[in-house]
Symmetry: C2
Subunit: 261 residues, 2 copies
DNA sequence: AAAATTTGTCTATTGATATAGACAATTATA
DNA sequence: TATAATTGTCTATATCAATAGACAAATTTT
């Protein structure tokens, strides 16, 4: 109604909330849509950290739903550790900002996160040796069916999962890289053991989808969450492919910053 | 069960489907989760174009749900024009590929799509003059509250919406750019009228979220769809910001290719 | 102290989601 | 031609999602 008055105010035309009606009978419940919008509002800065959300009745009116529906959305975000509700006082924003992941030709994953998280580490979940799929073989420039090493890793910042990667390496060239990864916890350090001091990100393809069951478990997400997916090929400075990797990032906790490369 | 046999075959460890259980009481209905997974399987190449999907009973068994639930998922994808069901024969994959959007320091949106779509155009939906929000002012390096021109555009390829952009320009410097855009349908061509022959993409921040109501309408998406969001600043070669833009891409139809630049 | 505000809990009702089973209609196969 | 396989339609039932209203509990404001 009079929400339209804000249109020219220029406060936040983008975050949308504006004429934010919801879609019914869509397969996505209203409470989840509202939870997503609240998350988005927080990310965009509509609600500051430690600030109080509008009261439930106000939110219900804004979204055009029953108060209980708003409560379901809030309950999910409280469960997620995003909000804290206090009886009689209000509902408050806890954590706010998303980790900003720099992506560039030379960016290593553990770099560039300085100041954003105090503790940053990579956990090796699984290592396996297997024949290369067509996709992996093409990416690494190997013959179809060549033997490759697959490493499954999870990145954590301050104890929270922020990335989940699957990387493939030529088994002939990088035998034992799984042990190196387990020891050093870093791809860059592991490459150095194989005489590779520098490497570049040759190409990156980016997409997004709903998190599947494996992602939900590995990244500690709630069902319905979105993951950003990057598929990248890393090469030596002379253009030789050394790693093919698919990385999933929880969209609610991470944004990707494409630096001028 | 014997699906695990595929694990070492290396067919598609990534697309997941593997131990793809679903999440119940998650706010996202099972039929939508299944529809998303089928879409993903198609995108990843598990189901080729024109190929038949496994029969409904097989899918129901694989996902551990009732046949009718699978039917709901298929019905949604048929509605979307992704699948075609034929009684007695089976269900078949119609369209497959996602448009691949190149993103680089010098990439213009209409460039680089050669061969992927025969008809490519940009439609100006709305133009407005308004005070700059904090976010926009910072991006353009203007004083808070400076007057800016906002352009709302939709990109189409072969008649299908593939992008939805909101761009801001300094009104003092680019007065009349709305008319130029309406006439030329191109940002690059419009800039040339203001004496700007070349410009660079200074920074790009990438995120993903569920499409909101406005996106659903503008991009012709089904509720629950995911959009990739880029927030970028374009600058002249000497570093002067000339455009601040947020673009939404439908994740089911578009992937972003970060070219090495 | 009293009133107003805000979150928490409870009951009840309606519609969408999911399961279950049966059978029809269409097509492909033996 | 008969059989099998596959999608389409129908009925019935249980659970989740959403609405509605009332009141309790805690906190802030008057």
């Amino acid at each position: 109604m009079d929400d339209r008055a804000k249109k020219i105010g220029g406060k936040e035309m983008i975050g949308q909330q504006m004429a934010s009606s919801l879609e019914r009978r869509s397969g996505v419940s209203l409470w989840r849509q509202i939870a997503d919008q609240i998350l988005q509002s927080i990310a965009v800065g509509d609600f500051a950290e430690n600030a109080a959300l509008p009261p439930e009745v106000a939110l219900a009116e804004r979204y055009g739903v029953n108060r209980h529906t708003v409560r379901s959305a809030i309950a999910a975000l409280v469960q997620d550790g995003v909000l804290r509700a206090e009886q009689g006082r209000g509902t408050f924003v806890l954590s706010r900002k998303r980790l900003s992941y720099p992506i560039g030709a030379r960016t290593r994953f553990s770099e560039g996160l300085q100041g954003q998280a105090s503790e940053r580490r990579s956990v090796l979940l699984e290592a396996a040796v297997e024949p290369a799929s067509r996709r992996v073989a093409e990416g690494l420039g190997l013959a179809r069916g060549s033997v490759v090493i697959r490493l499954e890793t999870r990145g954590e910042a301050d104890g929270q999962a922020v990335s989940r990667a699957t990387g493939w390496f030529d088994a002939a060239r990088f035998a034992g890289i799984d042990a190196a990864m387990a020891e050093t916890g870093s791809v860059t350090a592991s490459f150095q053991r194989f005489g590779i001091g520098d490497y570049l990100r040759q190409s990156t393809v980016l997409s997004a989808r709903h998190a599947d069951a494996a992602d939900l478990a590995d990244l500690d997400l709630q069902p319905g969450a979105i993951v950003l997916v990057t598929v990248a090929v890393n090469v030596t400075p002379d253009g030789q492919p050394i790693q093919f990797a698919e990385t999933r990032f929880p969209a609610e906790r991470v944004e990707l910053k494409l630096s001028a490369l």
